[in-house]
């Protein structure tokens, strides 16, 4: 009787069934899509972090630059007689490379790496030295009146950075400059199990071997190599020295780039930057994921001046449109889901209660002929439950179609992951009449302050494009079914409760 009655009610009261099912379906579809996209965004964030920090990195240890109030650490170029040449036409050609720790970052010592390695729970630790190679080149016109102020100059160039700042006006009039920068990461050549290269695969050439220690050899990021038209066997100038390209690597994740433009042996990088025994980051792999918190606490105690970041901390450093997407999903998407879900539940509850009210005589009659409150409640709850499940199935199907659409479109979103504190403070360009341009690592590297002189920037930020893939998981499907069942049960329980409260005498009297 239960199933017969249930089937008859659902098929003969189609309007109510359809409205409740549609409301529930909309909500479930939205929840499925938002959940799936949230999963995709999370995976994208993990991918971005992997591209920067490598696979298996649970903790990173870095050290941020201590502000001193002086100009120390600012990228500066010293043009004396060296690096400049007169053109004979009243202009001077300038060109100089500089290899240094990125602004905002400071270095850790080899002993710090040893400290980390010996910390309980640490499976492996690798120290890397991330540098920034900046090449300034350009031509300036000699100006007879060196005392002229910047406002007197009439250039056609553009200024980069804020219009005012500490570096102030220069003394040149006319000319053009370009700043080309890319990231250089010095890594151990011993094949460590943790570090930036663990999330890459070799596409051409060879990887580092122990024999490469101290040599001027470089492995390039595939995207950077393509943008710079470099191949295995070519040379790349780093810190004024030519490095031979031995291999090209690409990201194994969904990121379009790896964590750095170039990779060179750690000892070579330390020697070139005059930072013997120094590293900028230590990549830490924990023996167990449950140890991460403990290790972080221990490292914070031992390395008081260093910044210890877990994967969760690093995720917050991801910025760009991926961050926007994450924010949208976690804020708007979640709240929209909650609101729509609440509305669907409310619709189901109101329609069920309204249905019970409309069926007062029916339930009163059933009570009069001996139906118990429990049986009537089960009947009402059963109807609501099935309506909810119908909505849930339709919603899950609609949600899967939505996910399919997202995956077919495969939206590409960009993301930046920075491992050091951003520091501003540098003044504006202040190069009247000059045209300053900056090529920043063919789009794969931030860090080099655009405009050369102006504005601070993230010191070791890596920008990458990630294809958003919305995964369909069993959890998402179970979530959809669970919510549908929950909605049906809540509506059914309230409707059944109301039906059970009807006293048969009053129910019959109300329609007499």
């Amino acid at each position: 009787m239960f199933l017969t009655y249930l089937r008859r009610e659902l098929t003969n009261r189609k309007k109510q069934t359809v409205i409740i099912a549609i409301g529930m379906a909309l909500a479930i579809a939205l929840v499925v899509i938002v959940s799936s996209i949230a999963g995709g965004v999370k995976a994208a964030q993990a991918s971005v972090l992997q591209s920067v920090y490598g696979v298996g990195t649970d903790i990173t240890v870095t050290k941020t630059e201590t502000p001193t109030g002086s100009a120390t650490g600012r990228p500066s170029f010293d043009f004396g007689s060296q690096g400049s040449s007169g053109s004979g036409s009243g202009s001077t050609d300038l060109s100089q490379s500089r290899l240094a720790v990125s602004r905002g970052s400071s270095t850790l010592s080899a002993s710090d790496v040893q400290t980390v390695t010996s910390t309980s729970g640490v499976k492996a630790a690798t120290g890397v030295l991330t540098l920034e190679n900046s090449t300034f080149s350009g031509q300036v016109q000699q100006q007879s009146d060196s005392s002229s102020s910047s406002s007197d100059s009439s250039g056609t160039g553009t200024q980069q950075g804020p219009p005012s700042g500490g570096e102030g006006a220069g003394g040149f009039g006319g000319g053009s400059f370009s700043v080309d920068s890319f990231t250089v990461t010095g890594i151990p050549v011993s094949g460590d199990t943790v570090g930036p290269l663990t999330s890459t695969e070799l596409t051409k050439g060879r990887a580092f071997t122990s024999a490469d220690a101290g040599k001027d050899v470089v492995v390039l990021d595939a995207a950077y190599a393509k943008s710079e038209s470099k191949a295995v066997g070519d040379t790349v100038s780093i810190g004024g020295k030519d490095f031979s390209v031995i291999g090209i690597v690409s990201s194994t994740g969904s990121s379009s780039t790896t964590g750095s433009n170039t990779y060179i042996p750690l000892d070579t990088a330390q020697a070139l930057a005059d930072l013997d025994g120094k590293v900028t980051s230590i990549y830490v792999s924990a023996s167990s994921s449950s140890d991460v918190g403990t290790i972080k606490s221990a490292l914070q105690k031992q390395l008081t001046s260093a910044t210890v970041s877990t994967e969760a901390d690093l995720a917050s450093s991801v910025s760009g449109s991926l961050s926007t997407a994450s924010s949208l999903v976690s804020n708007l998407g979640t709240w929209l889901s909650i609101v729509v879900l609440a509305a669907a539940f409310l619709i189901a509850i109101l329609f069920t209660i309204s249905g019970v009210t409309r069926r007062t005589r029916e339930f009163g009659t059933l009570k009069a002929i001996g139906w118990s409150n429990g049986r009537i409640t089960r009947q009402v709850a059963g109807e609501s439950l099935v309506q909810g499940i119908i909505g849930g199935v339709i919603g899950a199907a609609a949600g899967l179609i939505g996910i399919l659409v997202v995956n077919v479109i495969s939206p590409t979103i960009s993301a930046s992951a920075s491992s050091a504190t951003n520091r501003g403070g540098m003044g504006g360009g202040g190069m009247p009449g000059g045209a300053a341009t900056a090529a920043a690592g063919s789009g794969t590297t931030g860090g080099a302050p655009a405009g050369g002189f102006g504005g601070g920037g993230a010191s070791t930020a890596s920008t990458t494009d990630v294809v958003l893939h919305a995964p369909v998981t069993v959890e998402v499907i179970l979530l959809a079914i669970g919510l549908a069942v929950l909605g049906g049960l809540i509506a059914g329980a309230l409707g059944g409760w109301r039906a059970s409260r009807l006293r048969p005498a009053e129910a019959l009297r109300s329609v007499a």
Binding site: K367, G370, W371, R509
Partner: protein
């Protein structure tokens, strides 16, 4: 005497063949009937209903409405009783007391040896499921269920444990008995008023109750159909030895009863 909660045994079984009620006309037509035995007949002198000093008051907003006042009433088993009276006089309230739909505010309502005033909700529900058949003025069929399924809804309480096939067989037999063997799969909306009331009567009788309570059973019917329905009720009353209580405004219907009661301002008197 088994109590009503046993479900399958009537509170008071069998008609009193020596009483003023009409003689049962013969053997049961269907399996739902039970022929009165001599032993049962010997118990028939016991009243099926005994109301003692029953009062019922309702709270309506800030005022108290008295529907029944100190009613004393005894109804022998197997009697056909008609209750008449003006609107608001207490007819329906009295029927609800007899039907275990409500408890009295004071006094006792004995159905067999069960006091409706003292039974819990569960016991009252089972009493209605097993001992009392209801027929309503508006038929009160479930609109989404077929005639057969409507009759099957009567198997509630302890009767719900019957097998699916038994329930179907008995419901089918009950509908055939009221002349609707060809209308088993029809929805109420596809039946005439008289046919719907026949379905309601089949639903009330399929569980073989001790008492049939009818609230204006012909109130929504034309004269010809009214006669048919009353004929059907009288036939069942005679054949089953049922106790039948009919609330009606229709004097023609009331005159068919062997006992007539008039209720006014909550007080009952014999006519």
């Amino acid at each position: 005497m088994p109590g009503p909660t046993t479900g399958t045994t009537p509170v008071v079984a069998g008609p009193d063949s020596t009483a003023s009620t009409p003689e049962p006309t013969g053997a049961p037509v269907t399996s739902i009937d039970t022929a009165p035995s001599a032993a049962e007949a010997s118990r028939a002198s016991r009243p099926i209903y005994a109301l003692k000093n029953v009062s019922k008051t309702y709270k309506q907003k800030n005022r108290t409405v008295t529907a029944l006042t100190n009613v004393d009433l005894t109804i022998p088993q197997g009697q056909l009783v008609a209750i008449q009276g003006p609107t608001g006089g207490g007819k329906s309230t009295l029927l609800q007391m007899l039907g275990a739909l409500d408890r009295p505010s004071a006094g006792s309502v004995l159905l067999g040896d069960q006091d409706v005033a003292k039974l819990g909700d569960g016991a009252l529900t089972n009493l209605r499921a097993t001992e009392i058949g209801f027929v309503f003025q508006s038929f009160n069929l479930i609109p989404t269920l077929t005639a057969l399924e409507n009759v099957e809804t009567a198997f509630a309480g302890s009767l719900a444990n019957r097998s699916r096939s038994e329930i179907r067989d008995r419901a089918t037999a009950a509908l055939r008995e009221v002349g609707l063997g060809e209308r088993l799969d029809h929805l109420p909306a596809e039946l005439s008023g008289g046919q719907q009331q026949r379905v309601a009567i089949a639903r009330a009788l399929v569980k073989n109750p001790s008492v049939l309570l009818a609230d204006e059973p012909t109130g929504a019917l034309d004269e010809a159909t009214r006669d048919e329905i009353m004929g059907l009720i009288e036939k069942q009353w005679k054949e089953r030895g049922l106790t039948v209580v009919i609330v009606t405004h229709d004097s023609w219907v009331a005159k068919r009863a062997e006992r007539r009661l008039h209720i006014k301002q909550g007080q009952v008197r014999e006519v």
